[in-house]
């Protein structure tokens, strides 16, 4: 399983799917075009600053609101390698796994990691390292069944393999 490393973008509680990708863009079907509006209503500079591999760290209930799969999709397409949060809204959580966007629940990481820190994640062990401060955190492990979907890089591949 791969690892991730990048610069942190930090957000608070209840980042909803409407600010991740506003509905005014939902008729767009091209993922790259959609991704140019990622996080637009909460952080208009995000798309200009994000680089491949970067990491989003947020507080509780990340991805609340709509079922739009466009939300994890634009985050993934924008280049984000992992979202770490205290907790995720359940549809976002499911969608992220189904489309192969790595996510990790970790309260301590969300509390201690700061915007701009360089963070690396080992997905096999769930260890999150803040390379700027040297601190490490242990993320919540996925149940075996979900890990299989993640290892298959999404639900469709997982079902095709069965």
């Amino acid at each position: 399983m791969k690892a991730a490393k990048g610069t942190v973008f930090k957000y608070g509680d209840n980042v909803d799917t409407d600010v991740i990708i506003p509905a005014r863009y939902l008729a767009i079907s091209d993922a790259k075009e959609l991704a140019t509006h990622c996080m637009e209503d909460i952080d208009k500079d995000f798309v200009n600053n994000v680089k491949a591999g970067d990491i989003i760290v947020a507080d509780k209930n990340f991805g609340c609101g709509s079922s739009r799969e466009h939300a994890p999709l634009v985050i993934k397409t924008a280049g984000v390698s992992c979202v770490i949060a205290k907790s995720f809204a359940r549809i976002f959580y499911r969608n992220a796994i189904n489309i192969g966007l790595p996510i990790i629940e970790c309260v301590e990481a969300a509390e201690n990691i700061k915007a701009g820190d360089i963070v690396s994640i080992d997905f096999d062990t769930g260890i999150i390292t803040d390379e700027t401060t040297g601190e490490t955190f242990k993320g919540q492990a996925f149940p075996e069944f979900m890990q299989k979907i993640i290892d298959s890089e999404g639900l469709i591949n997982y079902i095709n393999k069965k």
């Binding site: 509905a23 008729a27 079907s29 609101g65 499911r94 969608n95 189904n98």
Partner: protein, 423 residues
């Protein structure tokens, strides 16, 4: 003896298991898979990645273009065309074209497609609405929808539950919207995260089906996986009218079912409740609301676009006029509701009051069209979310409220309850 909740019993029965417990991962058979014009095109594209792209059962899929319909622009027209062609190719029984369509969560129960004891997934977060009829129904994304359409199955982590014991009778202008806003204000927007919200108790007899749809609809706004009511005489009457001759199975929670938390909600103590920007948990009652001038009122959506909602608004708007400079937009949830509102004279009341009436659409609720807000504008809306930028400009504001509060506010031009009009 098993100790299962209503939701757990339905899931067990669809997973071929005699018993399930919270946290268990199961695969359940699906009675209905639904999607709309935003989520279905993504699912339809995903379907092509399966070894077989045929659907599991053409009668158990519902496709309802409702978000940007009638099409607001070329891109939304292309999305609807994609859904239409897929429905035709797969001979989908329950595809609803403009003219038959309505807002999905008002339309499908009305069409007898959501039954007690069903397991339903929908690529729309408000799919939890059908719990009002004793179904386990929950929102999922497009990839899950694709997998559901192809296989007729979905995986679930069996949820634990919060029990809401409903007692008492609400006063005249207090409705289902006030009940659910009160609950969300109490437990927060993640208060029921990953959990079922089970609404029981002697007080539910004082809640109409339309009230229950509103309450179950907004379970997601508390983070809930599903909201569910027991099936009582009121629900059975509704099913006789809307699903005549259809068979269904009623599930009840075990007497010693285990709940993470229990709350008692006394309907007689509830007041008109408004959720201020920018979260549904930011609730206030009128004893703490200052004069707040507004620019627009929206009465409609999968939350509050049903007949009782329109009747309530008409009762308040009858013989009155919307305030100068105010836009009041009323959106019946389905064609049937629209027609009945016409026959009852409600549309005449709305138009004479200076409101406009739209064909069914999700439209302004998610900032699609038909009532987008400009910078700094405020709207009292019977919809379900008041997130930043949800209905338009990122510095516009949405105040979520009942149809009664929305209609009264349209007349006064500020956030108001009906008593301010002497009602």
């Amino acid at each position: 003896m098993s100790k299962m909740t209503m939701s757990q019993k339905i899931l067990a029965s669809h997973a071929g298991l005699s018993e399930v417990s919270a946290g268990q991962l199961i695969e359940a058979d699906l009675d209905l898979v639904l999607g709309n014009d935003i989520t279905s095109p993504v699912a339809i594209r995903e379907m092509t990645k399966f070894k077989s792209d045929s659907v599991f059962d053409k009668d158990k899929i519902a496709l309802v273009p409702d978000h940007f319909v009638p099409n607001k622009d070329i891109k939304s027209a292309e999305n609807c065309k994609c859904v239409r062609e897929f429905a035709k190719k797969n001979n989908i029984t329950n595809y609803f074209e403009v003219g038959q369509m309505g807002i999905e969560h008002a339309l499908l129960p009305e069409s007898g497609l959501t039954l007690p004891g069903n397991v339903i997934i929908g690529a729309d977060s408000h799919t939890c609405t059908y719990g009002a009829l004793g179904a386990f129904s929950t929102g999922i994304g497009s990839t899950d929808m694709a997998a559901g359409m192809a296989t007729g199955k979905a995986w679930f982590k069996v949820p634990s539950a919060i029990k809401f014991n409903i007692v008492g009778k609400p006063s005249k202008w207090v409705s289902g919207k006030d009940v659910i806003l009160h609950i969300i204000g109490m437990i927060g927007v993640d208060g029921a995260l990953y959990k079922s919200m089970e609404f029981v108790g002697e007080g539910i007899k004082n809640l109409s089906m339309d009230d229950r749809f509103t309450i179950a609809n907004m379970a997601i706004e508390a983070g809930g996986k599903n909201g569910i009511f027991p099936v009582d005489e009121i629900a059975i009457e509704y099913l006789k009218e809307h699903a005549p001759g259809k068979e269904y199975k009623i599930f009840e929670a075990d007497p010693d079912a285990e709940y993470d938390e229990e709350y008692t909600i006394d309907l007689s103590a509830l007041k008109s409740t408004v959720a201020f920007p920018h979260l549904p948990e930011n609730t206030h009652t009128f004893d703490e609301i200052q004069d707040t001038k507004i620019d627009q009122v929206v009465i409609g959506s999968c939350t509050n676009g049903r007949l009782n909602d329109l009747r309530c608004a008409a009762e308040i708007l009858s013989g009155r006029h919307v305030a100068d400079g105010m836009r009041c937009i009323i959106i019946p949830g389905t064609q049937k509701i629209y027609l009945q509102a016409m026959q009852e004279g409600l549309l005449k009341t709305f138009i004479e009051a200076g409101a406009i009436v739209s064909t069914p659409t999700c439209g302004p609720c998610l900032g699609g069209y038909m009532g987008i807000l400009a910078s700094g504008e405020r709207c009292v809306s019977t919809t379900n979310r008041n997130f930043v930028g949800r209905m338009g400009a990122i510095d516009s504001e949405i105040y979520l409220a009942s149809p009664a509060v929305a209609a009264a506010s349209a007349v006064t031009g500020k956030i108001s309850e009906p008593s301010e009009l002497g009602l």
